[in-house]
């Protein structure tokens, strides 16, 4: 793997990290409203998995999806404008933080119903299977979704019909405030998934290289006609569930322990020891990202609102 590629992974994770930090600030300043779920700590998952996909391969995501959208290449301007609810947002401001969409980039959205995206991904896979297209549809969902009935129905259906779907389970250990062990009888989610008869294995979700490697293998299996694959990406969110969350349900020590395994630090350490990161490289990267972010915020601030007269548009398709 080339140094350049690792730098690109680092840049992507940094973009997500800085974007999320800025969102927290903008939320506190009341620029962003509604629910806001941040991805800080989980950057390696989106970066590693999406890095293994081709640009036209569909992605179905969750309400913690800013990182997925950015990694997929939805422009930061459009994502930030969506946070602001401006019409220049990637969903014209009608979705907000939880509903980022970009049809041109095959990004099928943030879904705010836990597990609600799973059947959609199965259907996208079904369409490709019927059309003979060799694409992999990736569905991100969390450990909480694995307790939903739709998880069971979707695992079964996708495996039964051998559909080209990558199930990327972001196990960040908590379904909002409920720890894995408090809501699942079988806490090894990969083991549970394997019982449906599809390849499934756990991955260190804090190591972007491990994630990318696992995703690459999964995609190869699927593209070769091996049916769906399940990856349990073990990760952690450093921040609370949402801006509303006082984070009472987990130990500070636990958070600190996971922060020792910050995915950005892990990659940087690896790059340093391999001589791929010089002094000043990070600062230059950070500067570049900060500038991109500043432009995105400026553009969002200046973005127009959807006119109220257009309130009821997009309920039904507009005949051209």
């Amino acid at each position: 793997m080339s140094a350049k590629h690792r730098q690109e992974l680092l840049r992507q994770m940094l973009r997500i990290r800085r974007f999320e930090e800025r969102c927290a600030e903008l939320y506190s300043a009341t620029k962003i409203r509604g629910f806001l779920h941040l991805y800080v700590g989980e950057e390696a998952v989106a970066t590693g998995v999406i890095g293994a996909l081709l640009p036209d391969e569909p992605i179905v995501s969750t309400y913690r999806e800013h990182g997925h959208a950015l990694a997929r290449g939805v422009p930061m301007d459009a994502v930030m404008a969506e946070m602001y609810g401006r019409s220049t947002g990637c969903s014209r401001g009608r979705g907000g933080s939880m509903h980022l969409f970009d049809a041109d980039r095959h990004f099928y959205g943030g879904n705010a119903i836990v597990g609600g995206g799973l059947p959609l991904a199965v259907g996208l896979g079904l369409a490709d299977a019927l059309r003979g297209a060799h694409r992999v549809t990736t569905c991100f969902f969390g450990d909480g979704a694995a307790a939903e009935g739709e998880f069971h129905e979707s695992m079964n259906l996708a495996t039964l019909w051998q559909l080209p779907v990558l199930f990327a389970c972001e196990n960040n250990q908590y379904a909002m405030g409920t720890a894995l062990a408090r809501s699942h009888a079988q806490t090894n989610l990969a083991l549970r998934a394997a019982s449906y008869g599809l390849p499934a294995w756990p991955v260190d979700g804090m190591d972007v290289l491990a994630v990318e490697d696992a995703a690459q293998r999964a995609v190869e299996i699927i593209r070769a006609g091996g049916g769906p694959v399940f990856l349990e990406l073990r990760t952690y969110r450093f921040r609370a569930h949402s801006m509303y969350d006082p984070d009472r349900y987990r130990d500070k020590a636990e958070v600190e322990q996971w922060k020792q395994r910050d995915p950005i630090d892990i990659l940087m350490a690896r790059m340093r020891s391999d001589g791929e990161l010089e002094d000043g490289d990070l600062e230059a990267l950070d500067r570049e990202v900060t500038e991109e972010l500043a432009r995105a915020v400026d553009a969002a601030e200046a973005g127009p609102w959807e006119p109220v007269e257009d309130l009821t548009r997009f309920v039904y398709s507009e005949q051209s």
Partner: protein
Amino acid sequence: MTTIEITYREAMRAAIRDALLRDDRVFLMGEDVGRYGGCFAVSLGLLEEFGPDRVRDTPLSESAFVGAGIGAALGGMRPIVEIMTVNFSMLALDQIVNNAATLLHMSGGQLNVPLVIRMTTGAGRQLAAQHSHSLEGWYAHIPGIRIVVPATLEDARGMLWAALRDPDPVLIFEPGALYPVKGELDASVREVDIDRAAVRRPGRDATIITYGATLQTSVAAAEQLADEGIDVEVIDLRTLRPLDDATFLDSVTRTHRAVVVDEGWRTGSISAEISARITEQAFFDLDAPVERVCSAEVPMPYPKHLEDAALPQQADIVAAVQRTTGDGR
């Protein structure tokens, strides 16, 4: 015009077959639609003709296969998803309400969902409390989906293709009691419009507004009233959302009397919506309060005499019309 004798069930099957022949993107999926031939034998023979890819038996996973229908529609297909009966559709409510109805809007107009969901609705077959609902009015509450109810052979034959050509999700509610109904159908019917209500019987003295299985009952009531000298117009709504209120408002403006007949429960129903629109938009044309004939507010009981008592009957409709014309005081 060549006519053929056909049942409602056969008309529906002909529509599905026609769609599978006309468009490669169309496929049918649902519980027991293939090997079994459809719970109500609507898809009988289609698996043999089109193969298991296009006539797909699914596990009993309403949420997954309705959601998969949405995903496949997003992926460029034109799925027809069959939910065996309306009561099972509640298991897929999340996908219908939270995804099918919202994706276009949430995505700012980027992702439309050209999906058709068919399901059986209604009572009258002694199927008791969990298999006798008429929840189409309930679904009509939701913006983003279209709700149609074919009540005639022509609509059974022609609504499906129109629904498949709609860029947005369409739910077709097929009254189970109509499947065996037989009649003459213009052999050339392929597609009917799904935007407008239809005047099934013109009249001057009062307007009955109905849809689905109670259309037949309403027309029969109108014929009975004609013998008494009361000339009743009968309107078949056909589409419950978006509701074509112009047609029934125009009628009520002429007849000054309205009776809404709905197999759904009265409270919070489509009949309540219609009544409200009449008072909102035709109040000064009314010569009598709007009457409603609905199902009794009870989970459907099993025995025939109680089921009959719970459902709108011809005599109830006749009496309601007479109250509006002042002849039934």
